[in-house]
Amino acid sequence: MADTAMLRKPSDVTDDVLLNLYTEMVRLRVFDRRCVRLQRAGRIGTYPPLEGQEACQVASTLALRRQDFVVPTYRDYGAMMVHGVPMEHILMYWNGRAEGCEIPDDVNVFPIAVPIATQLPHAAGLAWAAKLRGIDQVALGFFGDGASSEGDFHEALNFAGVFQIPVIFFCENNQYAISVPFRRQTATQTIAEKAAAYGVRGVRVNGQDALEVYRAVRSAVEQAAAGGGPTLIEALTYRYGAHTTSDDPSKYRDPSEADAWRERDPIVQLRQSLVSWGLWDDEAETELLERLESEVTAAVARMEALGPPNPDHLFDCVYAELSPHLERQRRALRAELKDWEGTDQ
């Protein structure tokens, strides 16, 4: 994006949206950096940082309507929060707490999919149900560049094409699947071109440009909602940090690569634009950062205020009702814990 272009204020996006895009991106970054520190301090478990991918997650999700579904991977807790999942649930999840899996009833976010690409058929199914039920609702399924190699990617895209499902497949192509570079993942140059193999629209956008992402998703939502079927959007992006906190990126890539990407940082770029359009200034920035730091601090406090894990959670949502066999197992565990609480181990 040329500097001159940045100076022209877009007419197709309201100031509210522009500010929202920015503040949510900053929110994710503040959250993300805190989580990396929390993990280092042993206060949460393994954590997959998203820094660098904020525009992808925020702009795509803000372009959805409240009724639309967000179908995330492990790295898309940012999108989940933007769509309404409380921050402390995300913290609890990465801290291994069952409570972290809770999703409020009025928030259309699906649980995090850990097995790669498996969420894409879910997104197709959710949106297909909406179509069959005559509901005005789309689903957006996130996935990574690596996910494009899995069979589930193929089967989901194919269903979407055949049944003209109102679903959006949003690829955060951060160019690595853990250590494996994109060129080892596929012999094509892009993910977007794969859409053609399914009779699906394919679009490639700059994933560091929140506005470009926003417009692409908004248009895909409009088309889907109007019966125009599915879209595959590939957003070129980069994770600055490690794959997860257990990963050491210096094993497989040169740190200069991340530095180069930071030059095109989505947050810095949007801030410059907002400032140039008179929508943002240093004071607003300071205030925002303060507000976000305390939001995160409060969420961490709520996570840490949880009592000890509740062993009933092992059993209570496996089936709608416990079988006598599971009831017996639950009783046995309760008895064991009672003994255990009685000792001072």
């Binding site: 097995p115 498996t118 894409l120 879910h122 199914g125 949106a127 297909w128 039920r133 089967e155």
Partner: protein, 326 residues
């Protein structure tokens, strides 16, 4: 009431499910225009239209994966997998998602669906069309696993499965799809999940079986009794997960002897779990060790050998005699 074969009972249940709840839809390969390779869905496309009886692409992960989304967003998919040997491409979706969606979302979402799977051997089918791998599903917490042994139960269990809040793997014993007819009500009814049936009372030995083997065992039991042999109590397990321990244990405690007969290979076939539980909970009543009669621990062979793979009459008799003479 109409005399129906098992496959006709399935068809009747599917029709009732579609008619009774507009959230129900059928998904599968060749289930629409063709009416299913076994004709389980015959006539349903015409009755309910292509949005409720959906011919999908040839894609089991696609079927089971989209079914998760369909179920979570208010519909009740009943998926047909053409043969048990072809459910494996969708195994990840079953194990990682279908079975765990409720837990993983702490109850916000669930995946009420039925996965219909024709299974078992003895229909002279081509390779890989004769697997009995119910163990894979029984060992997966979150799934309910069901199999009928007769037309009446087929309809009632299938309607119960469709009404279940949890995902049900509904195994259909192909060998008896058309083996015999039974009076089956035309109206909807359910046979409760999780309840075994004592299909023949007896006092000397309990035989536990399910699916197509129930009929074999029943015949053998009658023949043995007729010729002065032991009095066999035959328990049709019907729901393979969760196990109806009350019925099983009560019977074994009464007879003091248990034989389990199944088409799955022996090692870690469900007989292992039944034997382990019976030995644990009924030990003081057992007159003999629990005996298993199962398929040999080798892959189901091409069909000319399949009758030697699954329990034969001789082997079932020998199993019963073994516990009687221990």
């Amino acid at each position: 009431m109409t005399e129906r074969t098992l496959i006709q009972a399935v068809n009747s249940a599917l029709q009732d499910a579609l008619a009774g709840d507009e959230r129900v839809l059928l998904l599968g390969e060749d289930i629409g225009v063709n009416g299913g390779v076994f004709r389980a869905t015959e006539g349903l496309l015409e009755m309910f239209g292509e949005h409720r009886v959906v011919d999908t692409p040839l894609s089991e992960a696609g079927i089971l994966g989209t079914a998760v989304g369909l179920a979570a967003n208010g519909l009740i998919p009943i998926a047909e997998i053409q043969f048990m040997g072809f459910i494996y491409p969708g195994f990840e979706q079953l194990v990682a998602h279908v079975a765990r969606l409720r837990t993983r979302s702490r109850g916000r979402y669930s995946a009420p669906m039925v996965v219909r799977v024709p299974y078992g051997g003895r229909i002279r089918a081509p390779e890989l069309h004769s697997d009995s791998t119910e163990t894979y599903f029984i060992h997966t917490p979150g799934l309910t696993v069901v199999t009928p042994s007769n037309p009446y139960d087929a309809k009632g269990l299938l309607l119960a499965a469709a009404a279940s809040p949890d995902p049900v793997i509904f195994l259909e014993p192909m060998h008896i799809y058309r083996a015999f007819r039974q009076e089956v009500p035309d109206d909807p009814y359910t046979v409760p999940l999780g309840q075994a049936a004592v299909v023949k009372p007896g006092k000397d030995v309990t035989v536990i079986s399910w699916g197509s083997m129930v009929r074999d065992v029943a015949k053998i039991a009658e023949a043995m009794e007729g010729s002065g042999g032991p009095s066999v109590e035959l328990v049709d397990l019907r729901t393979l997960s969760p196990i109806d321990e009350d019925t099983v244990f009560a019977s074994v405690r009464r007879t003091g002897r248990a034989v389990i007969v199944h088409e799955a290979v022996q090692s870690l076939g469900l007989g292992a779990e039944l034997a382990a539980r019976i030995s644990e909970f009924c030990i003081l009543d057992l007159e003999a060790p629990v005996t298993r009669v199962a398929a040999w621990d080798v892959p189901p062979p091409l069909f000319r050998l399949e009758d030697w793979h699954v329990p034969t009459e001789a082997r079932i008799r020998a199993g019963i005699e073994r516990v009687m003479t221990f």
